[in-house]
Amino acid sequence: MKVRVLIRPKAGILDAQGQTVERALPALGFDDVRNVHVGRLVELEVDNPARVAEMCERLLANPLIEDYEIVTAAADGART
């Protein structure tokens, strides 16, 4: 089964990447953008998706500084 893990900086921690993007966008004419955050996307295939949370806790994310969210393929959102 295909699984996606979305990892983002915890709220309250300066997200330097997000801020840099947010500052760069208006210069390109995109001036209605707010609250930009940059994180990581991990995609993988696994037989037993129940273990993905454990992977996140142990390796894929650092719970001190990052939140994660697991999205299974079936439940995946619409694409534009």
């Binding site: 990447q17 650092n62 001190l64």
Partner: protein
Amino acid sequence: MNFGVIRFPGSCDETDALLAARRVGDARLLWHTDRDLTGIDAIIIPGGFSYGDYLRVGAIARFSPVMAEVERFAGHGGLVLGICNGFQVLCEAGLLPGALLPNTSLRFTCRQVELEVTKSRSRWTSACEPSELLSIPAKHQAGRYWAPDPVLDEIEEGGQVALRYVPGNNFNGSSRDIAGVCNRAGNVMGLMPHPEHAVDELTGSADGLKLFESALAMALA
């Protein structure tokens, strides 16, 4: 005294650390799969890009077989120093508090920095005077020390902040100018600047030797 310097795939500064340690004692390289630390008095986890720094700095190296031994060694009071990537590994492993985030500039920066030695429990700065200034190069892309405020309060009060950037030198945006921290027992320390690159005036400074001399003094004590 015998230093062991760990080499992971992707380490870069292991030879430099080895040469620096040999200024005060004997030193040998340890392989990331080694499980035998017999005869080692102090361990150095060197700088570099273990496992390419992929996923997150230090994240993969902390699971290598040798790190399980390092945790045991540290638990028994053994001296452990993590430099740059080594600091990141120790934080990931939970041996040191906090985490290292990307520099606020997002750029890799290589610069000589001034550090102030803080009065702390760290065995690795025991040969320094309190408030002594050290000139040591720093070079990294993810060296912004961060921990939640209560943790920062706690480590400050508990004498776990070993080194701070002198004002104007904190290029990575570290909380409270923290450049190096130790564990509560003081035997495990991590820092972003590279003392192993400051052991010879000819290449810029010899101030970093103090850390190695501190370890030697502890081992002899």
